[in-house]
């Protein structure tokens, strides 16, 4: 009987165990670093181009000389509009040159004589080279080349070279022409 009772009580002892739950919160911080690449592409395009001389610019008006410096058959030639007479080897005050849209033109020299331009054309796609044929008198013509043409501030800068079939002289010069 006692054994039964103790057996019973022993069973009661094993089942009487009681848990008290204590929550001990442990905070674990996990840092999740996200790197955001913020790529900014800056295009730094600088395009500076010389202004190309067009037919419209060339034929828009007549052109008068502002400055000439060169050599004509061994002699120095120099002219600057408004410059001291002592420095100018000759006058071009009244000279002017017109290129027409139909690819002809006219030069009026300083003495007022007209010289017909029978043709003109750009000689390269960049329009930095211009060739034209001009009557020196009523029958004799010569070919002229304007090379290294630059159009700046409304003016024409170029190198001029030719052989004058009438006078029989070679010339090479640097010139600046401005609108008349």
């Amino acid at each position: 009987m006692l054994i039964v009772v103790f057996s019973f009580v022993q069973g009661g002892l094993t089942s009487c165990t009681k848990d008290t739950t204590i929550y001990d919160t442990v905070t674990v911080t996990k840092t999740d670093t996200i790197t955001v690449k913020d790529t900014v592409t800056v295009n730094d395009t600088i395009t500076i181009k010389d202004t190309m001389l067009t037919e419209d610019m060339l034929t828009a008006h007549s052109w008068k000389l502002f400055e000439v410096r060169g050599v004509v058959e061994g002699s120095i030639i120099y002219y600057q509009r408004g410059g001291p007479a002592i420095d100018n080897t000759e006058s071009f005050d009244n000279e002017h040159l017109a290129f027409y849209a139909n690819h002809t033109g006219l030069l009026v020299d300083n003495a007022g004589a007209s010289h017909v331009m029978s043709s003109w054309a750009f000689a390269n796609p960049e329009h930095t080279k211009l060739v034209f044929t001009l009557y020196n008198n009523s029958t004799i013509q010569s070919d002229y080349t304007y090379d290294n043409i630059r159009y700046k501030n409304g003016n024409l800068y170029y190198d001029d070279y030719f052989y004058d079939n009438y006078a029989g002289v070679d010339a090479h010069a640097q010139e600046i022409r401005i609108p008349e």
Partner: protein
């Protein structure tokens, strides 16, 4: 038998009392760890600026001393009038009046320099300088021969596509002739 029952009841009571005491003392604490994970987002923004230099086309670069003294300069093309004789040279060309294949100029940073002519002779440049603020005009003192010096002017200087374009004029006091031409020089 009565005694047995009586003693049994007594023992039972003692046992019960004893067990009750045991029951009250068997309470047990147990700690349960409740792990809480906190995720923190830590965003780092990196500014990664990329500057792309796009095509830079500068057709007329201001001529500078650094460009001029950066290397010797040989002729690519020259056209002009030497007194009354037309002169023309194109490197590799077939209609040249003169040969400048081996000629070149050197401009030193101390504003001196020299030219090696096509025959290999040296012509000293005692002094060179830009004569305007735009650096489009350049003059130098050139030794033609011993005791004979002249001033050469390169006008309308332009630096394009790594080449120097200019108009050149001078009076050769040694021979007594005037020259005007247009030249293009490239690095030697």
């Amino acid at each position: 038998m009565k005694f047995f029952l009586g003693s049994s009841a007594f023992i039972f009571m003692v046992a019960l009392l004893s067990v009750q005491g045991g029951l009250t003392s068997c309470t047990k604490d147990r700690t349960i760890y409740d792990t809480v994970t906190v995720e923190k987002r830590d965003t780092v923004t990196v500014k990664d600026t990329v500057t792309v230099k796009d095509t830079v086309t500068i057709q007329d670069t201001l001529m500078s001393e650094a460009i001029l003294t950066g290397n010797p300069w040989k002729l690519q093309e020259l056209r002009g009038l030497d007194e009354y004789l037309p002169l023309y040279y194109l490197r590799g060309g077939s209609a040249n009046t003169n040969n400048f294949d081996d000629e070149y100029y050197v401009f030193n940073t101390d504003h001196t320099g020299y030219e090696i002519d096509n025959d290999g002779n040296t012509h000293a440049i005692a002094h060179w300088e830009f004569s305007n603020t735009e650096n489009t005009k350049f003059v130098f003192s050139y030794s033609i021969a011993a005791g004979n010096t002249t001033t050469i002017t390169w006008d309308n200087l332009r630096f394009k596509n790594n080449a120097v374009y200019y108009d050149e004029y001078y009076t050769d006091l040694y021979i007594g002739k005037d020259f005007h031409g247009q030249g293009i020089r490239i690095p030697k």
